[in-house]
Amino acid sequence: MSLQTEHLVERLRAGDSSALGELYDAYGGALYGVILRIVRAPDIAEQLLQDVFLKVWKNIGSYDASKGRLFTWLVNIARNAAIDMVRSAHYRQRQKTDTIENLVHNPGNQGVNPDLIGIRELVEQLDEKHRRLIELLYFQGYTQEEVAEAINIPLGTVKTRVRQAIRELRRAFGEPLSIFAGMSQVGAEIFNRL
């Protein structure tokens, strides 16, 4: 975890509401994108994003950095909230009676950060079977069992294929993590000398 993220988590735990604002600025768009792709209705997605941040505010004490990155924790809260919504009777009833516009609505084209368009293109250029897997698991909230059934492959194959898909992405991104980690270490050393 970077020093910046660590500090943000500390402030959230101390009840600093401005830290929640900063968290929203850093991750709100990415979380909204995930939720919107699952529920496919902006009004529901908006309500869910609000619920997610309130939940984060209340439960930040249960986040354990040794178990993973802060974003992973956040995106799992968001995805679970969205999946719970999609599976609720209320949502299903609504989808039956809903107009076609929510369904044809393509949220992916809204408010995209131009710096990230390159990454998006990389995702689009993924092997079709890998791209679809990422889409279903990460953005549609499918379980691996559901994916296995949907595309008619064994569960074990789903797991290894997800592995391959992400490895492909990592290769395309050029493993930026290790570079950043090294940089932050150098930065910390310089900071300590000042």
Binding site: A14, G15, D16, S17, L20, G21, Y24, G28, G29, A30, L31, Y32, G33, V34, P42, E46, L49, Q50, L54, W57, K58, S66, K67, G68, R69, F71, T72, V75, N76, N80, P107, G108, Q110, G111, V112, N113, L116, I119, R120, V123, I134, L137, Y138, F139, T143, Q144, V158, K159, T160, R161, V162, R163, I166, L169, R170, F173, E175, P176, L177, S178
Partner: protein
């Protein structure tokens, strides 16, 4: 467990996607504590998926950020700042309470003082009226006594006339005398005012000697002055004296009348 085949199995990706069972999750967490290589691999997977999510980020509707912050700040579910603000509000409220009590008491006190003053004035008015009524009643009772005496057939009117025997002087006084009731009343309405620095004294003549019956006094509301009754009196007289309290013997006798 072979770390490499664990990584190749895709278990880490399943873990990052939040798709592990609770048992698998606990197991993976323990392994992550134990093996730094596994931990590094986890971070790489997480980072890749984070990049994907960021690439597909959508700007949330405007105002949502403010609505979220509004919902956490004023209600402050666990926010220490909100708790502090609430404490401060309570504190302010508690501080205002004694002043409010003082204000209420102050208003009540002013009202009380004002009411008391009003009642005092009213009381004064009423007691003056009562005093006046009592005075009128006493005058009335005195006149009733005089009237009772005048109606009594044993009462005689004695005319006191000028001691020098001059018929021309109109100066007279009347004494009502009743030996049965043992009452004597002088009507001073017709008496002249004494000269300045002089006073009128009353006398009875008993056994040839003058006995003082006191000074002529201003009577409230009537002109009747009650005199002491002397059984052996033969005459009444009025003299002019130089002292307010009178003299043991008459100086200048003005009027006299025999019984």
């Amino acid at each position: 467990m072979d770390l490499k085949s664990l990584i190749e199995s895709g278990a880490l990706e399943t873990y990052v996607l939040g798709l592990c069972s609770p048992e698998e999750t606990v197991q993976m967490e323990q392994l992550l504590q134990q093996y730094p290589e596994l931990r590094a691999e986890l971070e790489a997977v997480e980072h890749a998926l984070e990049q994907v999510a960021r690439a597909y980020a959508v700007t949330p509707p405007p105002g949502l950020r403010e609505r979220i912050l509004e919902r956490i700040a004023p209600r402050g579910e666990g926010g220490p700042q909100a708790t502090a603000a609430r404490k401060q509000q309570v504190f302010r409220w508690q501080r205002a309470l004694p002043w409010a009590a003082v204000a209420v008491l102050g208003v009540a006190l002013v009202g009380q003082v004002w009411e008391k003053r009003r009642l005092q004035v009213q009381h004064q008015d009423l007691s003056q009226q009562v005093t006046a009524c009592e005075e009128r009643l006493r005058q009335h009772e005195r006149l009733q006594e005089v009237l009772a005496l005048l109606r009594d057939r044993n009462t005689r009117a004695l005319l006191l006339s000028d001691a020098a025997g001059k018929e021309a002087t109109k100066t007279t006084a009347v004494v009502w005398y009743n030996p049965i009731r043992a009452e004597v009343i002088l009507d001073i309405a017709s008496l002249p005012a004494p000269p300045p620095g002089r006073y009128l004294q009353l006398w009875a003549i008993a056994d040839g000697r003058p006995v003082s019956l006191g000074m002529v006094q201003e009577q409230e509301g009537s002109s009747f002055q009650k005199l002491p009754f002397l059984p052996n009196a033969q005459a009444f007289a009025v003299s002019v004296e130089d002292k307010p309290q009178g003299n043991p013997t008459p100086t200048q006798v003005l009027l006299i009348g025999k019984i």
